[in-house]
């Protein structure tokens, strides 16, 4: 096998592994969401398929797979077909730069392999933001191509909402970028090594607590989740932009929404909560003399952080009522934006004076 072939094979394996992990996470999430919502509302959640309903995701997948694929009369067939794919690709492509574990390398036939990040590009976080912003196209075009007024309204709402809150997501992470001095997620995570007091949520000289709150709220809005799920507000718009979709195309939109949730959770964990770093210095595995398997502990911490963030999504859904549309816009532009901008100024000043004192 040539060197190029080997590199290609390694990259494809990594991509397949990450895709697999994400899809399995989405499967778990669909069940977890219904279970958590059930428990919070004093219900059991799904109980029929398998013990305690744990096979429910497979039942859902099979159902969606065998449903009739309907293209409504008067719909724009090309865009109606393309829109779910346009929604799905940006949701998955962002995972390429997420560091899942420590940045260690090993050699296979003289080729250096980084097992825990597919690609460490030096504009990592911008890459994620760029592709996240493209997710809006799938929603808008899906809404327009359906030739239904509910779908169109849902699509237009989502366009306005995603643009407004994307800005806040972008501005809220600028503080972290100033502290880290890099756009690469691998470098940002490495800069937070050594105990939870080094995580950018708490780190001196400028704890990013306000930025984190803005990021959390804005990312909930950007993924169209309750309480910001106006593009698919079922009491007003039937099901919003995917009213006319059925079968696999609906499943694509569904998958994209959950993959986006996982992605924003991973970014939150990597930027604010130290990524794969444990909340204490070093790792327990290294202490008990097994430094070669310390990556297990690190990836587990990353998973714990991501999943607790995902739990927050469910918690918000069970707790909060939907905002009205003008409230949503006013909140985004008049509350979130000034906080994010103020955070940039404060962080810049703090970092500047901190460096002067040193």
């Amino acid at each position: 096998m040539t060197e190029f072939g080997l590199r290609l094979a390694i990259s494809l394996t990594q991509i397949a592994a990450v895709m697999g992990v994400v899809v399995v996470t989405v499967l778990i999430l669909t069940l977890a969401e219904r279970k958590v919502l059930g428990w919070m509302q004093d219900r059991m959640g799904p109980m029929e398929v398998g013990p305690y309903g744990i096979l429910q995701p497979f039942a859902d997948a099979i159902k969606l797979f065998f449903k009739e694929d309907i293209i409504p009369a008067g719909a724009n067939k090309f865009l109606f077909t393309v829109a779910p794919i346009l929604c799905l690709i940006p949701a998955f492509i962002g995972f390429a730069v997420i560091p899942w574990g420590p940045n260690q390398t090993f050699e296979v036939d003289g080729i250096t392999v980084r097992p825990f990040v597919i690609s460490d590009i030096n504009i990592g976080i911008l890459y994620i933001l760029a592709f996240a912003s493209l997710g809006a196209y799938g929603i808008i075009l899906g809404g327009w191509a359906s030739n239904s007024k509910y779908s169109l309204l849902g699509g237009l709402r989502s366009a306005a909402q995603i643009i407004s809150y994307e800005l806040n997501v972008g501005l809220s992470i600028v503080g972290v970028l100033i502290l880290a001095g890099s756009l690469s997620l691998v470098k940002i995570t490495e800069a937070q090594t050594g105990g939870f007091w080094n995580w950018y949520l708490f780190a001196l000289p400028a704890p990013q607590i306000f930025a984190f709150v803005v990021y959390v709220i804005s990312s909930v809005a950007e993924t169209n989740r309750v309480p910001f799920d106006l593009p698919e507000a079922e009491s007003e718009l039937v099901a919003g932009f995917f009213t006319e979709y059925s079968g696999l195309r609906f499943a694509f939109f569904f998958l994209a929404e959950y993959a986006n949730m996982v992605l924003v959770s991973c970014v939150a964990a990597a930027l604010f909560l130290g990524g794969w770093n444990a909340p204490y210095p070093g790792t327990i595995m290294a202490l008990i003399g097994l430094p070669s398997v310390a990556w297990v502990e690190n990836t587990m911490w990353f998973a714990v952080k991501t999943y607790s963030f995902l739990f927050l999504f469910f918690w918000l859904r069970a707790t909060l009522p939907r905002l009205r549309y003008d409230q949503l816009m006013r909140f985004g532009w008049k509350v979130m934006l000034p906080i994010a901008l103020g955070n940039i100024v404060v962080t810049s000043l703090a970092v500047f004076f901190y460096q002067q004192m040193k």
């Binding site: 911008l126 760029a130 075009l141 237009l156 366009a159 643009i163």
Partner: protein, 171 residues
Amino acid sequence: MSQLFFGYFAGMIAMTSILVVALRNPVYSALSLLVMFFHVAGLFITLHAEFLAAVQIIVYCGAILVLYLFVVMLLNVKQDDRYHSQWRIAAIVCVPLVIEAVVLLVGGAGTMVSSRNAEPQDAVVTDNTLAIGQTLFSTYLFPFEVASLVLLVAMIGAIVLAKRDIGESDA
């Protein structure tokens, strides 16, 4: 290899730009503009300007073009209302452009090649973002600030114009 990529990106940019004005359906026009922005970002990447490529996608694809689509869908523009079949104006605009292209291709071919070979070596910087930031806030600080001021004025102007009706009806 890089020639191949350049050829692909340049060809797609030219083709999709023509489609933007040639297509009958305004939504398809906006979509071919989206494809064009993507390929411009691709050109930036072949020049090792990753930061510019990301900003290109975030600003143009993620924000500006979404607003275009928004307006196109909201207004529901009739397909006949657009400025098609205006051959005279098109000819008047195209003739100088064609002459210019011929002159450039025939007259300046030798110098073009040498300058194109020189460019990529200058553009390869270890940290693209750092380089852009430092240039923007040292060499080009004054133009940068002026540009931002102009944009601010334009933004305030737009708000004043858009909000005039509401203010008058309240008073």
